[in-house]
Structure formats: structure tokens, C-alpha cells
Symmetry: C2
């Protein structure tokens, strides 16, 4: 069916709203919406499966604007399609405080925004996660319930970021045939022509990674339509390179980086209106165009109704709904049992191994978890017996070999979590959290339940040396708002940390040891980790309190023994999650910390400890690291860096003297 | 010339030493050294230009072991080649505390180790930086003085990491023909066969990025020799895919991930000795093999002597030596002048623009600086008039369009700095420091003078919203040991920060504003930033001290005005670099902070401030951010998040009340 004039008017409406909103905000990125309006018009009016009246329909196609600076493209679309909460008023308030129309698309601000984008390449990674979730859930529940595409618009920036290679090669390996990437191939980046910085043959690059590729003129709507139709039959992910003109029609600015990131100004806007034949005022949309867009927005209603009937009659209904609700209560109960068993067994164990024992319980209790590792499976202890390998041949498997792709793993896990239906966790070494930090930050900003299993959590990893030894990482992860960092001291605390991680609507880090730790918790009747910190061992008339985490709790207990033996009764507080502890009420915090001088012990830097230890103006000191680590057997490293019970006791003695 | 039996024995010596050292340490990675011993033998005995007796020869070929876990390959080579400080004793102390033979190669531990590797992909990025430095310096000084190759051995892990795509595409674009990458193509990663996680056609991928590619059998030394000879004539960077067997000859473990990261055990070692025909004991090297390797190690001596004659007679000698010494004292003097001019002009200016003014002075005063930006040139204000564009056609240029490749930029800058001859700086938004954090950490670990120009340093960037607004980044960067974070408050402090950054043998971050700031420093006779913090405005009988950085110094001054007006004399301390401040002697720190209650103000999280403000047990409070930011005009955001002079004054009043 040839595309007629109304499609051009529909596209012009996106362009006009985008220009107008950026102009009114006096801030924003008009170039991309003008360049991709034609492609987006075809995609949303003829291909995307969705119903604007039911934006949460689980089997909708997913759309990700990876080139998030072009946010007005998405906002214009949502408004024109009739998504209820994207009013014209919101468009007029583009980039204003409190508006749904933030500078970049923000997950949770409005329906139809599937993920937060802006940091380049992340949306592409999320899209791979969406497509992977779809394939996995289709294997589990059948195509009656799960059968949708994932579309994403990416720019040159997305493709130049390294994360793109990780997720492109992963998607090719996994043969994610229902992932369709529309590349806004406009030859322009902020600094100017792409040829200033890049000569990559992107088509050849994607093909090298196992993708199907096509090229179209992004302003030839019939060609775009045909390409999308073709793409939907692929058994491999598809790249459609859409040759476009950035800032199309915007006078002298068209085709230049001048249209990218600033208002076009009245002259270029007038030129664009003339070129588009758009005779309407700012934010004015004629009825025929609204009608055409609204009809596109409700195009999927009947298909949705049919799906709902299928869903209602499906034997999978209960399990499907439970999956989409993310209900893992059975796993949390299993962890509670496991914690009690661990308390009575009281075995010395590395917390990474304790975590694997927890995962045995979790993965047997719920089918929702999908685990993986960035090529450190045996070291991260992330694989359990229940999980088949999730790959192109076995999409129903639940364990993913992410390859040496930490950043991609994290962005894909964000996509898995946002899709709903699975609960992702993934492992690497704690030090390599640096490689995936941009995606971890987005887990936190979007409040997604993604569990990062980060082992080898200190100099305790030993011989691999300073490049592999985290020193600043506990602090730098705690610094991310909304991310919860757990550092359990034994198997009971590990089980408790896992349970809280699964309860939270937020991302968590489990920082786990390579080396074995003694059991410190004899009683698991209550999940004390839920409070973040608690009195592990009290001492009558305590003259000091030692607060420690993870592997240093053992040292704290030994120091307290020594001190008590010499008449300095010392309380020991275990602090598996500082963020949760500081969220407790002030009385609890004050009770736990007590009023005696305090020593913090952690095999990491001091940053952040002073605030906690000094609460209420009490004297404090800290024993930890202030430099990078070194290569050597780990017990020697603890001695070398002075993180010992002997030094802890000495510091406590000094604190007490200073207090007298 | 066909390779004879001695080369096989030379290769066997690498394998034997590597196995023996890992076995003795009971820790390490034997698989890679065994797999790449043949390739390394050919490279070091017939191609690498170097002189073991003069490891600092500026025109030596550079070798980077990007697959750093194979460190024993490099240590064995250095020992066998006769590098003086790599004794047999060091090999026997592999991975022991204090040994030069750390778990992964550490820059500075021993001569011949050009960079610290281990975190995958970083070495490849450094190698691109080495090759870029060579090309740039050859353009500046001529091939008489600068004419060397850069070789690097990479593994599958290096190629799967996203950073590899950034630097591969960059190297292809820059046509770095003297970069030769040897890929240890062994089909194995830690989790098992590469086919578990990847199906990429690496040859096609590199060709898509503009590289020349070759395939060889990595155990056919004549073929490797021929490939290396061919590679040296290329006008594009070269990938040589060396098909190898990981853990070659090690019995059942050969060809499996079982040989990758653990001692082989006596049985596999015996099998390997048999297969290699190696009848010597652990760490025993027969004389003929030592002789052959030592002769390879001195092979470059005559070429070096000839180079030294050329150098001695060169008209470029003084400039070349100054460049290699990294002498930028003229730029530091120019900054001192600039600071004085800025102090008398007292203009309001965004510190990113102030930084550009500083760069005008720096880049005119020294030819050593090589600047760039990850596609935010106009926003980071990193380009000045003196700098031509450094690209394939103009390698003598001094400004690099790095493209949207933050991580690659940072790793390349490490390579530029390590090469010597240039002083690199590069820009992006502060929030995107997350993208390059693994490479920044290595700048710090290696103590390299790399200047990170990170603009848009707070919610002050406004409408782009929380994905672009750093909140935790000042804290998380200060957390990295050995990295200096500067946040200047006006143009004088910006000039001072630049000067200190150029003085330090360490990496620096300049955190700079998008928005305009008033001048706060009237006197630039002394570089006060060198002390990290100082009393900006004193108040007789001060009842409070406000400590602030960057854009919040203005707020501190306004609050102090208000407070002084109501009879609460308030001191204001500017803290452009907390790390430097805390390195001053205790008296200075105590004098600056005073004993009155203290308020810290920074548009970031509190983490780390408590330790500083609470020094000496003084009462303190903090005004800043505790959540992610939001999209909106920046002045509204400051109001919304309460970072205002009014709130600052209120907090000071409460502090004082609490103190009474």
C-alpha cells in the first residue's frame, strides 16, 4: 500500500511540535526529531504493536529511543498517538521542573517511555535486554502470550560508544531476530561531520557480528515501510541504516551540527514550516492530523482484545501473571529457611560460595531469576544446577554467558528488569564494577531490581594485585543514590542480603569475598540485615564499639576479644548495608552505635565512614586502606596494610585514652 | 631465513619459566604464556627494536601485554633478554609481596613494562596511544628521531570489552600504520569455549574499522615471522590473528580453560616438559638458550648507538629532550601571569570558559600539550586557536576529535602520557567520567599526568536532567587514590588548578561549570590552590566557617554576608582540591578550618565531607544533594534542591544554636 499525503502531514506534526517545544524551552535538541520524523511516523503508524489506551499491555512492542537527546520525538509521538498523560500542556512545559517532558526520556515520567535514555549506547543495551526477555518468556509461555518486537532508534553516538559493541555482538550471538535497530545515519555528531572522528563501515561491522543489515533513505517513507516489513521476518537481529538529514528542512541548519543541540531560532523554524507546508501556529495540530495519529494509536486495540482473551483462557495465566508481577516471595521464604540452616551449621565459607548456596535455594524456589556472569562463572559462583544455558538454541534457559562484557551485561539486565517477567542477576569482580558503572547508575535512577553479584571484594583476593583489588569501590558504589551495597560477613548475612535484594524495588550490590570467613551469626530468627546494621555482640558496660563489614567482622570480633580480656568491654556492630542502616529511625541508630568511642574497620577507603561513626559527635577512628593494594598472598596483605585485630585493638585503646 | 631449532628452545624456555613460576606461587595464569610463547619468541628475537641494556631508549619499539594475566610471558621474556632488574630470583618470587613480578604487569616495577595491564582492553587502548604519540612526534621531530612500532598482544577478553571498539575504530580512522596487534586467537575464555558467548568474525570487524588483517598459525614461527615482516609495511593498523592453543603441550589441560588461571600441577607440567623436549629442572635455563636470548636482547644495541649519534647531532635535540622530559614550566609560568590578569579583570565567567582562557595561555606557551574531547569540543571548551587537528592527514596537529569514545579517550591518553613527549588532556561531561573510570583508575595507579577536563559539573547544567547531572561524581572521583579533583570557583582558581595539574606527577580532574560564576579571588600573587583550601574571606571573631567548592563558593559568600549582617561573623573557606588540602600539615589545616562550627556546601553528595568538616571534633553540617537531580532551568533547580544562601545561613544559625 503506497503511503499518501497524510503520512507527510503526520511526520510534519512531529517536526513542528519538536521545534516549537525546544524553542519555547529555549533548550533542547531539535535536529534528531526533524531528521527521524519520517522514520518514526512509519514505525508508529504501521508497524509498532501497541494500544495507547492500554500502555501496560504486556505483549506490546517495545520502543527505545537510545538517542535520548531526541526526546521531543518521543514526546510528540506519545501526545499525537493519544497517550493520556502526554498532554499538549506537557509538551509546552518541555524541560521545565516537574514536567513529564524532561530533557531526556525518564522512565516513570509517562507511559510509553520504556526506559531512561540519554547516556549514549545504554538504550541499545536495554533494547537487547528487552528482546532477550521476550525470547526467553516466549519459550516459557509460548507465542500465544509472548510475541513482540523491540525497536530502537540509535544515533552515531550510540554506535561509537564501546558498550554498543558488547551488546551488538551479544545480540548477534543470541540471534535476537525480533530486535530491530533503526540507525539515524545522518553523518553528523556534535563536533561536526562524523568523518572528523570515525571511518567505520557500520554495515560491515554489524554483519561481522551476525546481524542482518539494510540501507534505506530515511525520508522515503515507502522504503522505510518496506524495510520494516522485511525486517520482521529475520532470524537474526536487524540493523536498518536510515540515511537522514539532521534538522531536515531547517534552512541553513539542516544537515549540520548547528541543528543538534540548541533551539533553531525563528528564521530556521519558519523555513522548516514553509518546506513542510505546515501553516499552523506553534503547538497547533489540525484535526485531520490528530485523527490520523489517534487512529494509529488505537490501531492495536483489537489485537490487544484478542490477546486478552487468549491470556484469560491460557493454562499459563497464573504463572505468567506472577512473572509479570515479579513475585519472588517463594524465593525469599526459601532464603529465610536457608539462613536458619546456615546459622545452625555455622560453617566457615567464602561469601561468594555462600551466595551460590543461596542461589541454589532461590533458583529452585522461583522460575523468575535469570542469572549470568561476565565470563567469571566459576569465580562469581553465579550458576546453579537448575539453570540451563540461555542461548540461541535454548532461549528457555536461565543462565547467560554474557562474555567479557560487564557494561553490556548491566545494560542488558536493566532491559530484562524493565521488560518484566524475569528478575536478573549478574556477576563480575567488584573492581570491574567500574566498567559497568554508567548502567548501574541507570538501574538506580530507574529503581530497577537488578542484583549485581560482585565477588573478590578487597585485597583479600590476594595475588592478582592492585588492578584487581577494589579499594575505593565500596565507597564509590555507596555514593550512587538509590543503590544498595551489601557486604555480608557470613552465610547467614549473605542469605539475608539476598532476601532484601529481592524485596527491594531498587538495584543491589552484593560484595562478596574470595576467601573463607568464619560464621559469626548463630541466630537467624530475624533478618537483621534488613536494618542495615545491628549489634552482633554486645558487652556490658561497653567502653568502645567496633563497626565492621564483611570480612572485617571477623577482625572486629577478635579485637573485641582481646580488649575484653584486658578489661575494655567492646561492642561489635555488623554493618552489612550502610544505606539501610541510615534509613532506620534515629533511636535505633543511636542504640546500635552506643555512646562509647567507635572504630570502623573495612578493607576499603575511609570515605563515608566518618559521617556514620561520628554521629552524635562521638569520637571515632577508622582502620582500612588509603592506597591501592598490592600483589601477594592475602594474609600477608592484611598484615602489610595493617588491617589486623592487633591494630584494631591498639586504635581502640588510643580512642579510649583520648576520651578520658 | 628459516627458523631453526634454537627458536624452539627459546620458546620452550618461556613456557618452562612461566609454568614453574605459576607453580611455585601456587597462583597465576600459565595458559596464555604457553600459548603465545612461539609468537613472542619471534617478535622479540627478530622484530622488536630495543636494547635490554638501555630500556629507556626513547625510540624503542613499545610492547604492551594487553592480556595482562599472561604476565609470566613478559617476565620470562624480560629475564631471558637480559633486562637487568628482572632476575631469576624475581621470577621465583612471582606474585609475592614486594616482588617486581606482580600478578599483572605493573608499570614502574621493572624496566620493559611500558604500562600496567590486567583490566581487559586497557592495554590495547594504551597501545593506540603509544602509536598515536609516535606518529605525532615523528611529524614534529622527523623520523631521524622518532620511528618506532607499537606491538600489543591481546586476548579474546580484550576484544570483547567495549573499549576495544572505541580504540580500534579510532586507530583505523587515524591510520596508525605502525600499530601491530597480535591476537591470541585461542577460542577459549574463562567460562569455556568462546562459542559460549560470542560469534563475532573479528577479522571482518577489524576490516570494517579500516584495519589490515592477517591470519597465521601462531605455532608456525616462520609464518609469524613473515606476517610481522609484512605488517611493517602497512599504512593502516594491522591485526595478526594468531591461531594458538592455550596451555599448549600441558597434557589434558592444553586447549581448555583449565589451563587459563590456575597452576597446571606436576602432571601437566611433566607432560609439557616432555612435549617440549625440555629436560631441565624448574627455573633452569641451559646456556645455549640464555646465549640466544641475550643475543636477542642486545640485537638493538648498534641501532641505538646510531640513533644516539643522530640525536646528538640533531637540530631538534633540545626540543626533543624537553618534550621527552615533559617540561611544561613555560606553561605554568604563563598560567601564573594569566591568574594575575584574571584577578584584576575580575570578570564573571563559567569556569569551563575560564579553562579555555587558561588553555589559550598553556597551548601558546608549550608545544607539548595535546588536547581533545569526546565529541563535546564546544561544550568542554578544550580547543584553542594554536591547535591544528591531529588526524591521519595532519599527525602534527595537537587537537584530537576522539569521537563519542570517553573510555577510549582515557586509555589513549594514558598511552600518550606513558610514551612521553606529549602532555594529554581531554574533555567530556563530568557525569560521563563513569564511562572512563577504569582507565582513570589506571592513570592514578600509574601516576600519569593526564588532565581530565570535566565540564557541566552539577545540577547547574540545568535542563538536560538527571542522566546528565553529576551528583555522586565528585565523591566517587575523590575516592580514587592518587587522583586529584579540582573544582575551581572562578578564573583565578581555574588557572591555579591548571598550573597544579601540570606540576603533579599524577592525574587530575578539573570539574568545571557550564554556568557563569562571579570572580571571588582579587589577589593572585600566590597559588593558593596548591594548598587545596584556604581562607577566602575571614571574619574577625568568626562564629562559623563555611567551606565550599566551585559554584557554591558564591553561595557561601552570600550566606556569610547575610550572617555577618546579623552579627554572626562567618569565615569562608574555598576548597578547590580536598586531596591537596588534607596533605597539608595539621597546623595549616586547623588554622584554615578554625574552631567554630562548620558548614560545607557542594552541589553533590555529602560523602567525604563529614571526615573533613568534623576534624578536631567540631560540630558541622552540610548543604548539598542527597538524590539524583531533575530537568529544569538551573536557577530553579538550585532553589528546588535548597542549595541557596538562605538555607546555608539557616543551617549556620542552627549549628551555632546547637553549640551554645
Amino acid at each position: 500500500m503506497p503511503l499518501d499525503h497524510i503520512y507527510e502531514r503526520m511526520s510534519a506534526a512531529i517536526a513542528a511540535l519538536s521545534m516549537d517545544a525546544v524553542e519555547k524551552a529555549n533548550s533542547g535538541h531539535p535536529g534528531m526529531p526533524l531528521g527521524m520524523a519520517d522514520v518514526a511516523t512509519v514505525l508508529f503508524s504501521r508497524h509498532m504493536k501497541f494500544d495507547a489506551a492500554a500502555p501496560d499491555w504486556p505483549d506490546r512492542d517495545r520502543f527505545v529511543l537510545s538517542a535520548g537527546h531526541g526526546s521531543m520525538l518521543q514526546y510528540s509521538l506519545l501526545h499525537l498517538l493519544g497517550f493520556e498523560d502526554m498532554t499538549l500542556e506537557e509538551l509546552k512545559n518541555f524541560r521545565q521542573l516537574g514536567a513529564k517532558t524532561a530533557g531526556h526520556p525518564e522512565y516513570g515520567h509517562a507511559k510509553g517511555i520504556e526506559t531512561t535514555t540519554g547516556p549514549l549506547g545504554q538504550g541499545l543495551g536495554n533494547a537487547v535486554g528487552f528482546a532477550l526477555a521476550e525470547k526467553h518468556l516466549a519459550a516459557r509461555f509460548g507465542s500465544d502470550l509472548v510475541d513482540h518486537y523491540t525497536y530502537t532508534i540509535v544515533g552515531d553516538g550510540c554506535l561509537m560508544e564501546g558498550i554498543s559493541q558488547e551488546v551488538i555482538s551479544f545480540a548477534g550471538h543470541q540471534k535476537l531476530g525480533k530486535l530491530i535497530v533503526l540507525w539515524d545515519d545522518n553523518n553528523i555528531s556534535i563536533d561536526g561531520r562524523i568523518s572528523l572522528s570515525d571511518s567505520t563501515d557500520q554495515i560491515a561491522r554489524f554483519e561481522a557480528c551476525g546481524w542482518r543489515t539494510m540501507r534505506v533513505d530515511g525520508h522515503d517513507m515507502e522504503a522505510v515501510d518496506k524495510a520494516l516489513t522485511d525486517a520482521k521476518g529475520s532470524d537474526r537481529p536487524v540493523l536498518i541504516a536510515c540515511k537522514t538529514v539532521i534538522g531536515k528542512n531547517a534552512g541553513d541548519k539542516a544537515g549540520t551540527s548547528g541543528s543538534h543541540g540548541a533551539p533553531l531560532g525563528s528564521e530556521a523554524i519558519a523555513a522548516a514550516r514553509r518546506a513542510l507546508g505546515w501553516e499552523y501556529g506553534p503547538f497547533e495540530i489540525p484535526d485531520d492530523v490528530y485523527d490520523a495519529w489517534r487512529s494509529a494509536g488505537s490501531r492495536g486495540a483489537s489485537e490487544r482484545a484478542v490477546w486478552e482473551e487468549r491470556h484469560h483462557g491460557s493454562s499459563h495465566k497464573a504463572a505468567f501473571d506472577e512473572a509479570m508481577a515479579g513475585d519472588v516471595s517463594a524465593a525469599i521464604r526459601a532464603l529465610s529457611d536457608h539462613a536458619r540452616e546456615a546459622a545452625s551449621a555455622a560453617k566457615a565459607v567464602a561469601t561468594r560460595k555462600a551466595s551460590q548456596n543461596c542461589l541454589d535455594a532461590i533458583n529452585a524456589a522461583t522460575p523468575l531469576t535469570v542469572g549470568g556472569s561476565a565470563d567469571l562463572t566459576g569465580s562469581n559462583n553465579t550458576k546453579t544446577a537448575e539453570l540451563g544455558i540461555l542461548d540461541a538454541e535454548n532461549p528457555g534457559g536461565r543462565y547467560i554467558h554474557y562474555g567479557i562484557r560487564e557494561h553490556g551485561m548491566a545494560a542488558i539486565m536493566n532491559g530484562l528488569a524493565l521488560h518484566r517477567g524475569v528478575v536478573p542477576y549478574g556477576g563480575t569482580f567488584l573492581v570491574f564494577s567500574d566498567y559497568m558503572r554508567p548502567a548501574m547508575r541507570l538501574s538506580a535512577l530507574m529503581e530497577q531490581r537488578v542484583v549485581y553479584v560482585l565477588t573478590h571484594d578487597s585485597i583479600g583476593l590476594g595475588e592478582d594485585g592492585p588492578t584487581h583489588q577494589p579499594v575505593e569501590h565500596l565507597a564509590s558504589l555507596r555514593a550512587i543514590p538509590g543503590l544498595y551495597v551489601f557486604r555480608p560477613a557470613d552465610e547467614v548475612e549473605t542469605a539475608e542480603s539476598w532476601a532484601v535484594s529481592l524485596e527491594l524495588q531498587a538495584p543491589s550490590v552484593l560484595a562478596l569475598t574470595r576467601q573463607s570467613l568464619p560464621a559469626v551469626r548463630a541466630d537467624a530468627s530475624e533478618n537483621l540485615t534488613r536494618k542495615g546494621g545491628y549489634v552482633l555482640r554486645d558487652a556490658e558496660g561497653a567502653k568502645a564499639t567496633i563497626v565492621a563489614t564483611g570480612s572485617e567482622v571477623e577482625i572486629a570480633l577478635a579485637a573485641a576479644d582481646n580488649l575484653s580480656g584486658e578489661g575494655i568491654p567492646t561492642r561489635v556492630v555488623s554493618l552489612p548495608c550502610a544505606e539501610l542502616f541510615l534509613k532506620q529511625d534515629g533511636d535505633y541508630i543511636a542504640d546500635v552505635l552506643g555512646t562509647a568511642p567507635r572504630l570502623g574497620i573495612e578493607a576499603g577507603i575511609q570515605m563515608g565512614w566518618g559521617e556514620l561513626l561520628g554521629l552524635g559527635g562521638t569520637r571515632w577512628d577508622f582502620l582500612g586502606m588509603s592506597t591501592f593494594g598490592a600483589s601477594g598472598p592475602y594474609k600477608e596483605l592484611y598484615e602489610h596494610f595493617g588491617i589486623t585485630a592487633k591494630n584494631a585493638a591498639a586504635k581502640v585503646r588510643s580512642l579510649i585514652k583520648g576520651n578520658e
